[in-house]
């Protein structure tokens, strides 16, 4: 994908080659192409061109005929169907009636974003070129707020997009907090440290499909290992995975089980990198544990944390195998993420709709990632 090639925050600067003999050797123009071209071609042919073709598919109706397929241009009708037509209920969800409180919350969110814009206009960083991007971001932010308010409160029901966002938000938050906690515990000098490190890393290696089965066994109220507990709670003949909330919880638990190790292992390294002298100096000055954490340790690990969270957000938006096996997207479509939705309607023969849906997912992921990188990350790093 060709996003924001100018963004310097992700592509960090590597030192330029020294102007030495090596520079003269750069005359070997063939070699430099031999090194880089295979990757570029592979990405062009399997990512960029398919992405362009997908864009075309998303505005077409595709019919399979003997020995091939027919493609018919139908304009934006696929998108229309998803955003306001027959697929709206599944993709966006059912909206509740808006009352005064809803409008107030929405207004407040928009107001904050507008204030941020005004702040930007008055800051020395201001450029006219920055305005359109920010206006688009505000519109997008308002739309997402409207969507969340409408489908998560009152009589609203979340569609696959909001369900995906719930998975991303709940999963990444839990994984980060658990990973950080475990890493903090293991920075102490305790016997058996290596054992815990290895054990904690394990879930990351296991196939999501396998994990989904594991948790289907774990959540079984009759045959699962926790059955006595369920019986005790009087839930013996009741499968909690069959309620929308329970099923979503199960998916988040499975995802958290798998990806906490990723956060853990990197945060552990970051914590071990915090200089001991600084900590000792703070202690001599009489800092307590909380002060130590918030003023010394947290600022040190925040940059790494931001990168980690960004990676996990991006990866989580692609979630599909865990819910597919654990709950098959059900009950109804309560745990169906967008990827699974796209796959299901592809299976049903609606290729154009599937492509359109994937594009909408891509737009949301890109938007969230860009906002996170350029707004959240920058603010957090400035704050410390």
């Amino acid at each position: 994908m060709l996003v924001n090639a100018q963004d310097p925050s992700k592509a960090k600067a590597l030192p330029a080659p020294q102007p030495t003999l090596l520079m003269r050797l750069q005359a070997d123009n063939v070699a430099r192409m031999v090194f880089l071209l295979p990757s570029v071609l592979l990405v062009l042919f399997l990512a960029v061109f398919p992405l362009l073709a997908s864009l075309y598919l998303s505005v077409s109706r595709i019919q399979l005929v003997r020995g091939g397929f027919n493609i018919e241009f139908i304009g934006l009708r696929n998108f229309e169907r998803l955003l306001s037509g027959s697929e709206q209920r599944r993709f966006l969800g059912r909206f509740t009636e808006f009352n005064l409180e809803h409008w107030l919350v929405l207004g407040a969110v928009v107001l904050v974003m507008v204030l941020m814009l005004i702040n930007y206009v008055r800051s020395p960083r201001f450029k006219w070129a920055g305005i359109p991007v920010r206006l688009v971001a505000i519109a997008f932010g308002a739309a997402i707020t409207y969507l969340l308010l409408g489908t998560l409160t009152g009589r609203g029901l979340p569609g696959t997009l909001v369900v995906t966002m719930i998975f991303v938000f709940a999963g990444v938050t839990l994984q980060y907090l658990l990973g950080l906690g475990l890493a903090m515990l293991l920075t102490q000098e305790l016997p058996g440290k290596r054992f815990f490190r290895i054990v904690f890393l394990l879930p990351m290696m296991i196939t999501p499909v396998g994990i989904a089965f594991l948790f289907r066994m774990m959540t079984d109220t009759l045959q699962g290992p926790l059955a006595p507990l369920w019986a005790l709670a009087g839930l013996r003949n009741f499968s909690w995975v069959e309620t929308a909330e329970g099923a979503r919880l199960a998916v988040v638990i499975g995802d958290t089980w798998q990806w906490t190790p990723f956060m853990f292992i990197i945060l552990l390294a970051a914590l071990e990198g915090v200089s001991r002298e600084t900590i000792e100096a703070a202690l001599v000055d009489g800092a307590n544990r909380a002060q130590l954490f918030f003023h010394i340790i947290l600022p040190e690990i925040l940059p790494v944390s931001m990168t980690l969270i960004l990676i996990r957000i991006i990866e989580s938006f692609k979630i599909i195998d865990m819910p597919q096996v654990l709950t098959r997207g059900g009950p109804g479509t309560a745990t169906e993420p967008v990827s699974l939705h796209a796959y299901n309607i592809w299976r049903a023969g609606d290729w154009g709709g599937s492509a359109a849906l994937s594009y909408l997912l891509l737009i949301v992921v890109t938007f969230v990632a860009l906002v996170f990188m350029n707004s959240v990350r920058r603010r957090v790093l400035e704050w410390v």
Partner: protein, 342 residues
């Protein structure tokens, strides 16, 4: 280091109570991680009746372990299981190797050469690509459209192209390659499916190897670029003075020096290919099914036969898990190289 600090060298050395508390939490999480795996393994040794009667926890105490399910999966099922297993191994190893080779080459290029592509030319290239695609859709033979586009591109590049201003840097290229990781597989898989269908590649190992190579490439470049950047240029210079070529230097000096990084990257990429599910779902048929698909198929056709499913899951995760146990340090280091500095 913090670890030492918490332990001894400060007035805040952990009291015995804090120590016990820490252990309690650590053991709790170890149980959370290990218990499902334990349950998986013992379930694979249960008879159907031991599962349906409600939970039984201890082999030899609660129930008599039996090889029933293992025999069923390994002998009775025969090729239904062994074929996906070999598929997974073949596809996993090949795609990991290929992406490692291609990605390392690119990483070396990006750390040792200076590339200066012009954004305007990239735009021209994309416009021509879209044009060619549109022409193909409109009925022009694909070869003609592609050839015309290539000729046009070189014409423009050699004439007007020289006047374009502004260049992209190595870091832009690296960012572009790495950001491919953001792409949801569902967004590209349908065109890939159609192209494979036209080329007769559907339902072959090659289809999966090529696709997995592409999705793993960003990870390889991300890790190996840092690795190669940390190898001093001086090491290569003496070899150049002795008359070695780029390729010899890369093969004889750079690759041997980065063996640990290569192993770590290989393992991580292998895990991703081994576990991949969604692309396999689109791109494989009965003959090229991989293990994750076989496991999911149990779900659909047979209802929850936990004993058989457990055997399959154990078979699927055993190689990767055992590898992870022995090579934990490599893997952890590999992940760290990418993330901490990124």
């Amino acid at each position: 280091m913090m670890k030492r600090f918490f332990a001894t060298s400060s007035p805040f050395a952990p009291s015995p109570a804090w120590r016990i508390f820490s252990y309690a939490l650590l053991i709790f999480w170890a149980v959370v991680v290990l218990f499902p795996l334990y349950w998986l393994v013992i379930t694979s040794f249960k008879l159907p009746i031991d599962v349906s009667q409600g939970p039984k926890y201890l082999p030899f105490v609660d129930f008599q372990p039996s090889l029933h399910a293992w025999e069923y999966i390994l002998f009775d099922q025969g090729v239904t299981v062994t074929r996906p297993y070999t598929n997974t191994i073949v596809v996993g190893i090949w795609s990991a190797l290929v992406s490692l080779v291609i990605g390392s080459l690119a990483s070396y290029g990006l750390t040792r050469f200076t590339y200066r592509p012009k954004p305007a030319l990239v735009g021209v290239f994309l416009a021509l690509a879209i044009g060619a695609l549109a022409a193909v859709i409109a009925g022009v033979p694909p070869l003609v459209a592609v050839a015309a586009a290539i000729v046009l591109f070189f014409l423009i590049a050699q004439t007007i192209g020289r006047r374009f201003k502004g260049t992209l840097t190595n870091n832009d290229i690296a960012f572009w390659l790495i950001s491919q990781r953001m792409l949801p597989p569902v967004a590209v898989v349908i065109p890939i499916y159609l192209v494979y269908q036209q080329l007769g590649l559907l339902n072959t190992h090659a289809a999966l190897v090529i696709t997995y190579t592409t999705i793993n490439l960003p990870l390889v470049i991300w890790f190996m670029r840092d690795y190669f950047a940390s190898i001093p240029f001086e090491l290569e210079e003496s070899a150049f003075i002795d008359g070695a070529s780029r390729y010899q230097v890369f093969y004889r000096i750079i690759l041997p020096l980065s063996t640990p990084g290569l192993i770590a990257t290989f393992l991580i990429v292998l895990v991703f290919s081994w576990n991949e599910y969604i692309l396999a779902l689109f791109l494989t048929g009965a003959d090229t099914q991989t293990m994750p698909m076989l496991v999911v198929a149990q779900n659909a056709t047979r209802g929850p036969q936990w004993w058989n499913i457990s055997v399959l899951v154990v078979l699927m995760i055993a190689p990767i898990t055992i590898m992870a146990l022995f090579l934990e340090r490599y893997i952890a280091k590999g992940i760290l190289v990418g993330a901490v500095k990124g």
